[in-house]
Symmetry: C2
Subunit: 174 residues, 2 copies
Amino acid sequence: MTTSVFVGTSLDGFIARKDGSFDFLPADGGEPHGYEEFIAMVDALVIGRHTFETVLAFSEWPYGSKRVVVLSSRELDLSRAKGVVEQMSGAPAAIVESLAMSGSQRLYIDGGITIQRFLREGLIDRLVITRVPVLIGEGIPLFGSLPHDVRLQHLWTRTFPSGMVQSEYRVNGH
Amino acid sequence: MTTSVFVGTSLDGFIARKDGSFDFLPADGGEPHGYEEFIAMVDALVIGRHTFETVLAFSEWPYGSKRVVVLSSRELDLSRAKGVVEQMSGAPAAIVESLAMSGSQRLYIDGGITIQRFLREGLIDRLVITRVPVLIGEGIPLFGSLPHDVRLQHLWTRTFPSGMVQSEYRVNGH
């Protein structure tokens, strides 16, 4: 099993504004920075309800034909999705185990609350963070509270002409 | 005038724990990462009361013989400082002007609240941020709320064997 995060943030650490918009990120996603290569490597995406609602509003379904799992204990109208979507609820460890049993070994964990839940449970292996050179002051943070410090191993960093700085970290112990 | 910030943070953006400690940073400051060169370039440091109290507890005064200005409207016992210290209060713009008039053109702005105040007023020119590969979950954040987005220009990024990633940004319009 490998669980990865690939996410863009403002320099002050927000993945979206409070209303869920991310107009502070480059409109076209910026110069190519590895998203296509990253998503080609995963078997399934695990997202929260908020992220699901957000991507429903996109003109294009961003996850191609990948298996997408929406975590929610509430009723969800999955028919609005333009891709393959299923709903699950439960603890992160159980979700990961269930997905592994059904053939999804490489998971992309996305969405602020979902990433934070998985990090708190020690269930994130790799983090790729792309920082956009802007401060927005407030919004939905990438990181949240943790039961204890989490030491990371820095794997690499690269920069882009637009000013984006991308780093990959391995979460120690995984 | 040039106002600069040179600061270390956890990957989740904290410059210290809630109690002011920063045991999550490398104990010896980590491998040399430019602090000596940076401080050699400034005329004066501007810090808040919290930072002043924190450095008073250090075994060594970290600012050498540099002019140090502590911002506080409260009474302060400056005699405990092992270096050259003066106290000022007032709006950031007035502080900067007053320091320029008395010969300090290159300022190092330090401390969470002080950095945030100066950023909000558009009075930071350069930011050098060194990110340590650890998540601490909560603490004193480097950045705070802003009246509007602040676009930055990424100047350079370098990495260190310990996993520290250091970037310099120019605040646009300065």
